[in-house]
Amino acid sequence: MKDDFCDAYEEYKDAIFRHCYFKTFDRELAKDLLQETFIKTWDYLASGHKVDNMRAFLYRVATNLIINDVRKKKSVSLEGLQEAGFDPGMDDERQKHDWIQEEKVMEVLGAIEEPYRSAVTMRYVDGLQPAEIAEVCGESPNVVSVRIHRGLQQLKTKLKP
């Protein structure tokens, strides 16, 4: 079971990281949230509970952690958050990586409003089905489909030359 959980980390780590990163726009925070997501999930399993759909469960835990984090930061001023902006936070490997492209991608995604951004990234970046996204968000698949459509429309506008 532990091995399967390790494999689940390998399989979903990037998707959950992106999910956190695309919502917080803070790489370091996204890494912390990723770690916390897996720790909370294991804690839940260690308490004797079962998880029917690990991927959807991880997304739900991550989403709740993001919401909690934003709530905790209510006292921080909006200006402070804007000043914080996008921080690539580089290490050696990332210096080799084309981080300028990453910055551009984040900018385009930042132009899409939530909850449409989450809907399109979950659908087209992470490959979740509308029913699975609905499970994560606690909405109906129809609502999710509308969000995906609107997210794509917004993205199309942003990508226009």
């Binding site: 079971m1 532990k2 399967d4 494999d7 689940a8 399989e11 780590k13 990037d14 990281f17 992106r18 990163y21 726009f25 803070d26 890494k31 990723l34 770690q35 720790i39 909370k40 294991w42 804690d43 839940y44 399993l45 004797g48 079962k50 998880v51 029917d52 690990m54 835990v61 709740n64 952690l65 709530r71 958050l81 804007q82 902006g85 996008f86 290490d91 490997e93 990586h97 492209q101 990453e102 551009k104 991608v105 984040m106 900018e107 385009v108 995604l109 930042g110 132009a111 939530e114 909850p115 399109v120 990234t121 087209y124 490959g127 794509l152 993205l155 199309k156 990508l159 226009k160 030359p161």
Partner: protein, 375 residues
């Protein structure tokens, strides 16, 4: 621990943001942006932008290793309960736990013992139930569903679905052996096999979607070999019983149709896996190693079960293994000749033959007690 858990539950179930709160949060998230020109020429289609560009954003290997270390440290300090994954009835006991809280301690204890023993006994008894049996719904809808929640990854889920298909096919063969496969029951068996076949193929497709083509090919090959082995055993049963009823022929026909579709899916999967291999020689050598492992596993299985199985099944299994050996030998000569693609194809055939050898023997052994009962 209890407090942390209740907090966690609250997070999972209780969190419902008000409209104003959610708008405020989303506006904060939206406000953290970068200014400047996107400059992503060539990405005019939003879907390809998301699939090709946004997907490149991931953890570096160093970041992933650091996070993994922290998580594993926590995992090691907080092991799972010893019985985790072994008692399929614990979700039922979870349901009853709520009821016990309302009872007095002593009657609650007695009720708990009664319910636990009867529920666990029911679950264990259901393990060997066949379609049409009273306990069969418990086996399929409860035991198997409970087990499903212990598989966390796409790969382990796909193997679990393949295992369920294997069970559905075995059940059909067992019913045929017991001469119970008829009318409505047979229609029900066919429906379950076909439904499980779709689920297993979907699970294999999910593996291909995440780029694990090798694992997807393994599942497709397993589906195909299970169907072939099942048809062989089923035909033998019908031959031995001296009557091939219309209903039983339907079952064999269904298996043959499924086999064809499984073969098509496997060939498609083979091509995709081959396209992802960059070094043909390394891929061919890897394929040979895997073939040898599969053949060794089949050989060990045959040796272990020789005394228990029917001589006919042993002969068939050994014939498949001989075929696998011949294919492997030809595949080796193809590698020497530099024909790597052909070597991989022949290796694949050898692997499937070895898997079939094992499957024929396995199905034949599960069917044996039912044949005896009818003789």
């Amino acid at each position: 621990m209890k407090n942390r858990l209740s907090e966690f539950w609250q997070e999972l179930r209780g969190v419902r943001l008000s409209k104003a709160e959610s708008e405020q949060i989303f506006s904060r998230i939206n406000s953290v942006r970068v200014k400047g020109d996107a400059g992503l020429e060539g990405y005019m289609d939003p879907r390809s932008f998301l699939r090709q560009r946004a997907k490149t954003i991931k953890l570096t290997s160093k970041e992933a290793a650091e996070a993994r270390e922290q998580i594993m440290h926590f995992v090691d300090r907080n092991p799972l309960p010893e019985d985790f994954g072994h008692i399929p009835m614990w979700s039922l006991s979870d349901f009853f736990r709520f009821r016990f809280a309302l009872l007095r301690p002593v009657p609650a204890m007695v009720t708990a013992i009664f319910l636990f023993t009867s529920a666990t006994g029911l679950s264990l008894a259901a393990q060997t139930a066949l379609p049409g049996d009273f306990l069969y719904p418990v086996k399929v809808n409860f035991n198997e569903q409970a087990r499903a929640s212990f598989f966390f990854t796409t790969n382990s889920r796909a193997h679990f679905e393949a295992e369920r298909l294997e069970k559905r096919l075995e059940e059909a063969a067992q019913l045929a052996a017991a001469r119970k496969l008829e009318g409505k029951l047979q229609a029900d068996v066919l429906r379950r096999i076909n439904e499980q076949l779709v689920l297993t193929q979907q699970a294999a497709a999910a593996l291909a979607d995440i780029g694990n083509h090798e694992a997807a090919l393994e599942i497709h090959s397993q589906i195909e070999t299970d169907l072939i082995a099942n048809s062989i055993v089923l035909s033998d049963i019908l031959k031995a019983s001296g009557e091939a009823t219309v209903d039983a022929r339907k079952l064999i026909q269904n298996a043959a149709d499924a086999e064809r579709s499984a073969t098509t899916a496997r060939v498609r999967s083979e091509k995709k896996a081959a396209n992802h291999e960059t070094n043909a020689l390394a891929a061919a050598e890897k394929n040979i190693r895997l073939t040898m492992e599969r053949m060794e596993s089949a050989q060990t299985y045959i040796s272990d079960k020789r005394s228990q199985a029917d001589p006919g099944a042993i002969t068939q299994a050994e014939a498949r293994l001989d075929f696998a050996r011949r294919m492997l030998s030809t595949a080796r000569t193809k590698i020497d000749a530099g024909e790597y693609e052909e070597a991989i194809r022949l290796g694949g055939e050898a692997q499937r033959a070895a898997m079939e050898a094992k499957a024929i023997l396995r199905v034949s052994l599960t069917v044996k007690p039912y044949l005896k009962a009818t003789r």
